[in-house]
Symmetry: C2
Subunit: 495 residues, 2 copies
């Protein structure tokens, strides 16, 4: 099946919107007759949060409707298989230190399906570092050393590399007063605090690291999410790299997502409607009504809404969300990072990666295995065009190629480009969540508070791997548990 999402370009065929994926669901609608009645639950959004919630509810006996605006499952995590290679369009890397999603892998016997992204042994086994006036190659050891020094110093706000300030990334606000203080800082603020300790080149690498994390601009990125990522990397210089940029699923993220979806379908209690964006969520006196943009209405006692933070502002809630929640949504998350796949001719770059000072659109790239045609698959990241240093993706193949040239040690023939323009996507309006200063200390808790019979559950808020696949699975699990707990007594009589 081919999704409406995604973009692919090759020299021969040119650019094309829409790429193939097992995440596309056919038929798009499967709505049981009893959907006219009041269902047990409606889950809005079929990303990992919604999938886990729908699976947990249906396997426990609840009649559930899953509504999704896209034509596919997975939300910001899905893969496309093109000519035998899996391109992970969004969320990619998983690890056993991501407990909620690893548990899903384990449940579906995918626990040994590792494919390693950064492999050694290629002829160009180095990191190219591009700064405004220079381009040079570092050994990966030199790169790790520089990376660790600048990133470690950036995160060393407590003088103990956050081992004291944030010992537990899954309980990141444990030292609440201290963390709320840090939360006032933007990444720009922190960068300026430590700038004098480093060379221009080192600062260039640090900027690239930060822009890869949160897409920029640095003024809009809170320092707190960065500290949490550092703590998730076991407070080690390159710890995050080992956990979160290393191992991906051989069969692709959509294979795991399908396992969860298919499991829910197998219960025969799941109705679903894809290509059905939601316009309105009403919590009435005796049930909730969800209205799609096309005017269809569905009724349920409980609603789990997994719509991303930056899209929630497009949904009408009745009664209106509490002021503080509305404020959190109006501010939103800041990440507009672009992720672009390049297949470049030949296998030489298979052990290569790069960092670059911002300005040309892409700020880093890393090799991620060879394609079946023995070309090198590169994954590149960069800020989007609405920042001063960003890149336009739409209809801009020449610009994208130039941005890659800026990173490469020497010009290479590009054989394929694949990407998903998450920022201009109406159902995401941004990439993985990276939150602005003060957002976490002010709003992260309230976003997890049920609003009557409506529970907001996105990986954009939460704990631990917030903004990652694991955070989505966590939120979906917790939301389904809340719903199941309120139903407890009703369930007992049914079986």
């Amino acid at each position: 099946m081919t999704s409406r999402d995604g973009f692919v370009w090759t020299p021969s065929a040119g650019g094309k919107e829409g790429i193939p994926s097992i995440s596309v669901i056919e038929p798009q609608q499967h709505v049981a007759a009893d959907t006219k009645e009041v269902l047990d639950a409606i889950v809005i959004g079929a990303g990992y949060s919604g999938l886990v919630a729908a699976r947990d509810l249906t396997t426990q006996g609840f009649r559930t409707l899953l509504l999704e605006g896209r034509d596919r499952i997975g939300g910001r995590t899905w893969h496309s298989t093109i000519d035998g290679f899996n391109y992970e369009m969004g969320g990619t890397w998983v690890h056993w230190q991501m407990p909620h999603i690893y548990r899903e892998m384990s449940l579906y016997n995918m626990q040994d399906e590792w494919i390693v992204t950064q492999i050694g042994g290629g002829p160009l086994d180095f990191c190219t570092l591009t700064t405004p006036h220079d381009k040079r190659n570092l050994t990966h050891d030199q790169e790790a050393d520089m990376f660790g020094r600048v990133w470690g110093e950036f995160c060393n706000l407590d003088g103990a590399y956050m081992k004291e300030g944030m010992p537990y990334p899954f309980d990141s606000m444990r030292n609440k007063e201290q963390m709320s203080r840090y939360d006032k800082l933007s990444c720009r603020d922190r960068l300026e605090q430590i700038r004098s300790k480093f060379s221009t080149e080192e600062i260039g690498m640090l900027e690239a690291i930060l822009l890869q994390m949160g897409g920029g601009p640095l003024e809009s990125m809170g320092v707190l999410d960065g500290l949490r990522w550092w703590a998730l990397g076991n407070h080690l210089p390159t710890g995050l790299n080992d956990i979160a940029l290393s191992t991906r699923l051989r069969s692709g993220q959509s294979a795991l997502a399908r396992n969860i979806f298919d499991h829910a379908v197998s219960t025969r209690r799941l109705s679903y409607a894809f290509s059905s964006p939601v316009a309105k969520i009403e919590d009435g006196t005796s049930f909730c009504t969800v209205t799609t943009r096309s005017g269809k209405t569905y009724k349920a006692h409980k609603v789990i809404c997994t719509i991303p933070l930056n899209v929630l502002r497009d949904i009408e809630f009745s009664p209106a969300l509490p002021t503080k929640m509305a404020e959190a949504i109006s501010i939103g998350q800041t990440n507009k990072c672009n992720k672009v796949h390049f297949d470049v001719a030949g296998p030489e770059l298979v052990s290569w990666n790069s960092f670059a000072s911002p300005g040309k659109g892409l700020i880093c790239a890393l090799a991620d295995n060879l394609t079946p045609t023995n070309d090198t698959h590169l994954v590149a990241f960069g800020p989007s065009a609405d920042t001063a240093v960003g890149l336009t993706l739409k209809d801009n193949v020449s610009g994208i190629k130039e941005a890659l040239d800026h990173l490469l040690p020497e010009k290479k023939e590009v054989k394929r480009i694949v990407y998903h323009d998450w920022y201009n996507d109406e159902f995401s309006k941004g990439t993985w969540a990276y939150l602005p200063p003060e957002w976490v200390s002010k709003y992260n808790d309230i976003m997890q508070t049920p609003h009557g019979n409506v529970i907001l559950a996105s990986g954009d808020w939460g704990e631990g791997w917030r903004g990652w696949i694991d955070g989505a699975a966590q939120q979906g699990m917790k939301a389904a548990k809340l719903v199941a707990d309120t139903y407890g007594s009703r369930m007992k009589s049914r079986i």
Copy 2:
């Protein structure tokens, strides 16, 4: 409630079998009328594996009977609260890098219930190292350095600190041929290979480390489980310590176990019978029959048996288990490690720990917080008396106190001793699983293969945190999934 399990001694009251715990279930039997019919499943054993399996089955609508020999839930993981302090009698430490059990913590909102075992700042902030002819105190930095060097070298069979040989501890046999080769080695073999590189003192610490891991004798301990523990510690010198000897649940392990049990009970589909040890498991032509020692019989289509490896030999299976499974059971796991809690007078030792050459019964101790009376709670480990260097627990308070004196920097008044004699316990016959040479490569897979309608599911085998709490949760989850999958179609018609 007071369990029959456990032992407590105080100077005033002397020794007493049985200690209080929220893990004791009252009433002991709750067997629904329909238990005379053929149930969906019988789960044998109420440790974490059995609890997770019973919870997963009952919440998915299956009528399930839980049978347990003890008077309580938790198996080898339970805590006793005495005078306001939680003594973890078996499995203790948990972490977000233990994905299956962390997911349970997260499900029941216990994710920020951390209490830290090893805290700094006390007046005796050092490690006492006792060797046959010497006793000296090391700073914790010196200790970490020595620990990391000897333990790292022990595990460095591949010359890359197992990053190449065993990159993924949850897929530990990935390099099967290489691992099977290592699996022929005992810990004694490996110790002799590297003995000449270290001083007597260093070898003494290494022996203590190994005996804490597997209880000894070293000849009976395979090297492979050690390598897996090292890999689980992120291939870092003191990584395992940070993950697996650091954070425990403030409210105690039995609080988490109760959450799982109570969740299953809340479905009203769980029958249970405690103090009901099983004698026989028959897989008949149309259903399975489980017979208790007292002659009661129960029938179900599926049986999940979570009985520990060393106890399985006491169960009669009909038809008999395959030869290779029987062989695996007959060999069993080797760990007879003793775990003893001491409350010693005063708070001075709160940052202290120790290692000692074997010979006096206990080979290490570590401080784990202060009691409400401001005394120091120590956790000590040592091999059991059936090894040349071990300690008798039963009726041997003076011997136990002497073994502690051997570790201490100076004699201290002991105000309380608490332990569970796991080796002499008929329902465990050993502590956490540590497997002998060649067991893993020969038997770990077959133990996970269903035997007709009977699934063996214990944390004593499996992957990742095998032998730990997480491994138990993993096995229970997988067994329940297998059962639920075979029932799929039957379930659909019921609701």
